[in-house]
Assembly symmetry: C2
Homo-oligomer: 205 residues x 2
């Protein structure tokens, strides 16, 4: 109708899901994907070897180090980091394309990376995922059993520090281990609410 109000045509938004190691970011995102929600889940580019069962373009974009270096140089990455000697980063074009198609974009990123996104895209919506308490977070990190005691101690110390960064985020959601769907519902509520805010967010990257 010609007299429809503008708010009926909302813009696509950029959501960042972050939080310390051991709070369950991947599990939450996995559950959101299973539900087939109408979001674009960002696929990370990485220079590490493709493992059996991993799908290029779905789990990761597997790219050569030379290509990754080119992307850094030409400013094609929203954020990147070195993880265990390999590069991981988020291609800007992918995010731009999804937003242009009208889809909300969700990306999972560590606490350091979220601070970078905040600077580059001030109007991104930053969600901090955490656990009920420190004990629970430490327990999850311990149960991984993929690290040396020294590695684990470092990860716990880092996570403790990162917990203090919650105020740099817009929202905080507690991911209780036994209420994963509850966490997903809260994130969905945040996304719905953000689309009804009267302030207009400018998502440019």
């Amino acid at each position: 109708m010609s007299d429809e109000f503008d708010i009926l045509h909302p813009q696509a938004l950029l959501f960042v899901l972050s939080g310390p190691s051991g709070v369950g970011k991947d599990t939450v995102l996995q559950r959101m994907k299973e539900r087939d929600l109408p979001f674009h889940f960002v696929v990370t580019a990485t220079t590490r070897e493709q493992r059996p069962g991993e799908v290029h373009g779905k789990d990761y974009f597997f790219i050569a180090k030379e290509e990754f270096a080119r992307m850094i140089e030409q400013d094609e990455l929203l954020e990147y980091a070195v993880v265990y000697g390999d590069f991981k980063g988020i291609p800007k074009q992918q995010v731009r394309d999804a937003l242009a198609s009208g889809k909300d974009v969700i990306m999972r990123i560590d606490v350091q990376g979220a601070a970078t996104i905040r600077k580059l895209v001030p109007d991104a919506v930053l969600i901090f995922l955490t656990t009920e308490n420190e004990t629970s977070m430490v327990g999850r990190l311990q149960s991984r059993k993929t690290e040396t005691p020294e590695g684990l101690a470092l990860r716990i110390a880092t996570a403790r520090q990162e917990l203090k960064r919650v105020d740099d985020f817009d929202y905080v959601v507690i991911n209780s281990e036994f209420h994963l769907d509850d966490t997903v519902e809260k994130i969905r509520a945040i996304i719905t609410a953000e689309h009804h805010r009267t302030i207009k967010r400018e998502i440019e990257l």
Copy 2:
């Protein structure tokens, strides 16, 4: 647990549902009440006559004009207005008590009144209810058939002006006539999201 994070003990918040005449504020609130949601719905004090079927303390607090005058003088009302020669207002103590008991408070108020609440309680959350388009709003006002043509014209003109005030609010929700439950779900999402914001709201009145 002793190491629980503070955010597990959230404060109660004050929500204001507003918008021009004819957008369906009462219908939305009625549906929310029917669902038995854990909110305190503010009961308005009025000096008008109690009508058959109306329950004191539920539909309104019916009070004498002298008592209302005393409440105005002693600053016991959050907001008040004269409606067709009678006084209507919101007793502060009721809101304070509900918030103190940990319950979120929701009040329905006209656009002028919402501006008053914004000044008195800057951290109240203001939701602007509207229709898909102006035609729909005018249609609803016309269908009431409780007014003279002049009264109706005045109401439509006022509603048109009030539509421009949307930016004074925190959120805007379109109440489509045939999707009432959708409207309620959006309001619930806003309430959930607000409880997960990292900024602390100070609700004092």
